[in-house]
């Protein structure tokens, strides 16, 4: 090898060791709290043994089925609302509404800067009684709170493909609107839709503040209340859900094409 390649190799190694060091230190900082909580959750009480008893605990609590059911229904409605409202709108923005894209971008970032406490207080002031008496009001608010993320997931995903060109090509080749939609548009945007819906589900499963301030007992609220009496079980639940969410998300990154939207989505 000549000196040029030597230098390049040394360079690469130095680069790699610096990056490696950064990743190692970051990894330790992010790892230890997880490990400590996981160790605590595996404890078996007064005897110093370890086991998975705490992980089974939450399933044995009366109220588990009822509250999971409530959260499931609320999430389902939120997902449907997202499909009905966000997907067509963002698709249209990319196809022929580019003019309004900036405006919508600005609008959809607003929920990010409003503290959820404020939204809950405002909701109790503004919403009519019949809405406040139904747990499904949460679905509507969840769609709003998730909007910064779902919009961006859809936006980035759609931007990765020349959708307008493809659509136009299909149309000029004689395809009807329906056929264009089912064979061109839908498959193209499916990964982005899945990403956006996943974000919606993740938010709904973990959202606590809004649900509690509006006095609803959803799964996250119920878990928090029940956990007051069993901190080991509560920790097991927290660690368990983190792990479960990560497994889902990680396997998600293997679906979809290269340069898929998931890698670059925002929180």
């Amino acid at each position: 090898m000549d000196s040029e390649s030597h230098r390049k190799m040394a360079d690469t190694m130095r680069k790699n060791s610096a990056s490696n060091l950064v990743l190692i230190i970051a990894g330790m900082f992010l790892f230890f709290p997880l490990y400590a909580a996981a160790e605590f959750s595996l404890r078996n009480g007064a005897d110093k043994t370890h086991g998975f008893a705490a992980y089974r605990w939450i399933f044995d609590q009366s109220g588990f089925a009822e509250n999971i059911g409530i959260t499931f229904r609320v999430t389902l409605l939120a997902v449907v609302l997202n499909l009905l409202i966000m997907v067509p709108t963002v698709t249209w923005l990319h196809l022929s509404g580019q003019r309004y894209k900036r405006l919508v971008e600005i609008l959809t970032i607003l929920p990010l800067i409003i503290p959820v406490v404020a939204l809950a207080t405002g909701a109790q002031l503004a919403m009519p009684e019949f809405m406040q008496n139904s747990v499904y009001e949460l679905s509507f608010f969840y769609v709003v709170v998730a909007m910064p993320y779902t919009y961006r997931a859809l936006d980035i995903g759609l931007a990765a493909h020349p959708l307008a060109t493809l659509t136009n090509a299909a149309r000029s080749l004689g395809a009807s609107w329906l056929k264009t939609f089912t064979t061109v548009v839908a498959p193209t945007i499916r990964p982005s839709i899945l990403a956006a819906l996943f974000l919606m589900v993740a938010l709904s499963l973990g959202e606590f503040t809004l649900a509690q301030l509006l006095h609803w007992s959803t799964f996250p609220v119920w878990v928090t209340n029940v956990s007051q009496q069993n901190i080991v079980g509560a920790t097991a639940l927290a660690i368990g859900s983190l792990f479960f969410a990560w497994v889902l998300l990680f396997s998600f990154t293997f679906i979809g094409k290269k340069n898929s939207t998931i890698v670059t989505e925002e929180g």
């Binding site: 404890r43 110093k48 406040q132 006095h215 609803w216 209340n225 007051q228 009496q229 069993n230 080991v232």
Partner: protein
């Protein structure tokens, strides 16, 4: 002529009689349980239980299960009467209860509240209708007059003393508040049970610290000063002294109501931590009783009133683990007689029920749990509601500067 008069008289008498029957017979007219003010107006225990069962649910608010043995009360009531109890935000504060009444939609209104004295002025309001509906329980006369509203809007339920709860792994047992805050052996040990600007319990804890450091019920500043010094010395950790943080080892001792003892000791043992309780030797802070009240906007009026009768019942009887399905089928008044009354459930939780004096006289009180004796050296301090309100204003401005 006389016959006609007789007929008229007889008819009027009949009309009058039937009118009386209609007016006073609960079996005929539907009782509006939301305006019922005592058991008699409700038509007796059987009628009350029947109406409560028909409502199927009861909304309570900010009631932790391990607080004064409330968990047992909830379980027993649910099992005996088949009424589902919904508990909104168990770890919330008294202020949260009143705020919920003011802002929540109809279906989310609590039926009953259990509040600290400090939020009562806000609840009663000046120039505004009070938030509570008047009701006098069957044992009304056993409640001391200074702890009940003459119209029945609110009534004291139980009170407690401030105790030190501590982890047995400390190098020595903290027997006084002063030592806890100053002794180097307790470095990193002490946390306050909550935010004193909102939590009644934390506010009383602050009063206890004040009294142990030269302050009194009318001067809480020495308490804040003492905590500042303890923070500098390292004895005070500024984290909420709840069970989660205790299990995580964030703190080792706090000041809390003695009636939280049994529940806390049990749940700590389940997490593998040895928790102990002791009344401090320098200050025995007697809290003002917490207060019960029925919400005027209660969605389940009969259940609310049945719950109050239950809480103030002095009966000794079956607990939640002893009652069975057959018992639940009995008529309402029979069930009520055979289950443990709320006053005694609270005694088992190391709380002092409000009708304590009468119960001791009538010998209808069960034995209190062991280990909560008051040392003779302890100075008794009992801040009145007005004193609490005054000092709280100071705490609100000074606490964020700690």
């Amino acid at each position: 002529m006389r016959a006609k008069r007789l007929v008229v008289a007889a008819t009027s008498a009949a009309i009058l009689a039937s009118g009386l029957v209609l007016a006073t017979g609960p079996a005929q007219a539907a009782t509006n349980f939301c305006t019922v003010q005592n058991l008699q107006q409700a038509g007796g225990m059987d009628a009350l239980v029947k109406a409560a069962k028909a409502e199927k649910e009861l909304n309570i608010i900010t009631v932790p299960r391990d607080w004064a043995n409330y968990g047992e009360a909830i379980d027993l009531f649910s099992k005996a009467f088949g009424i589902k109890i919904n508990d909104d935000n168990p770890e919330g504060s008294s202020a949260y209860e009143i705020q919920t009444i003011k802002t929540a939609p109809a279906s989310k209104q609590p039926d009953v509240v259990d509040i600290g004295v400090s939020v009562l002025p806000d609840a009663l309001g000046i120039g505004r209708k009070a938030l509570f509906a008047p009701y006098k329980v069957a044992t009304w006369n056993d409640i001391p007059s200074e702890w009940k509203d003459s119209n029945g809007l609110w009534y004291g339920d139980y009170y407690g003393l401030m105790a030190i709860s501590y982890d047995a792994s400390l190098p020595k047992a903290p027997t006084s508040i002063k030592a806890l805050l100053t002794d180097p052996a307790f470095k990193g040990a002490f946390a306050l049970s909550g935010d004193p600007t909102g939590s009644q319990q934390a506010l009383m804890g602050l009063f206890a610290i004040a009294a142990a450091n030269g302050g009194s019920a009318t001067n809480i500043m020495p308490g804040i000063e003492a905590l500042k010094a303890a923070k500098a010395a390292g004895n005070f950790v500024s984290v909420i002294g709840n069970s989660a943080n205790y299990a995580a080892g964030a703190y080792k001792a706090t000041i809390t109501w003695d009636f939280n003892g049994p529940g806390a000791i049990a749940s700590s043992a389940a997490a593998g931590k040895p928790l102990k309780f002791v009344i401090p030797s320098d200050v025995a802070l007697q809290g003002t009783p917490y207060l019960q009240a029925i919400n005027t906007k209660a969605p389940h009026c009969a259940a609310a009133r049945l719950w109050e009768e239950f809480l103030y019942s002095q009966n000794i009887g079956k607990g939640s683990r002893e009652i069975d399905a057959a018992d639940a089928k009995l008529p309402g008044s029979k069930i009520f007689k055979m289950i443990m009354g709320g006053q005694n459930i609270w005694v088992a939780g190391a709380a002092h029920p409000i009708t304590e004096a009468a119960m001791i006289k009538k010998k209808t009180i069960v034995n209190a749990p062991e280990g909560f004796a008051v040392p003779k050296t302890a100075k008794r301090v009992a801040p009145s509601p007005d004193q609490q309100a005054d000092q709280k204003a100071i705490v609100v401005t000074e606490w964020p500067k700690l």
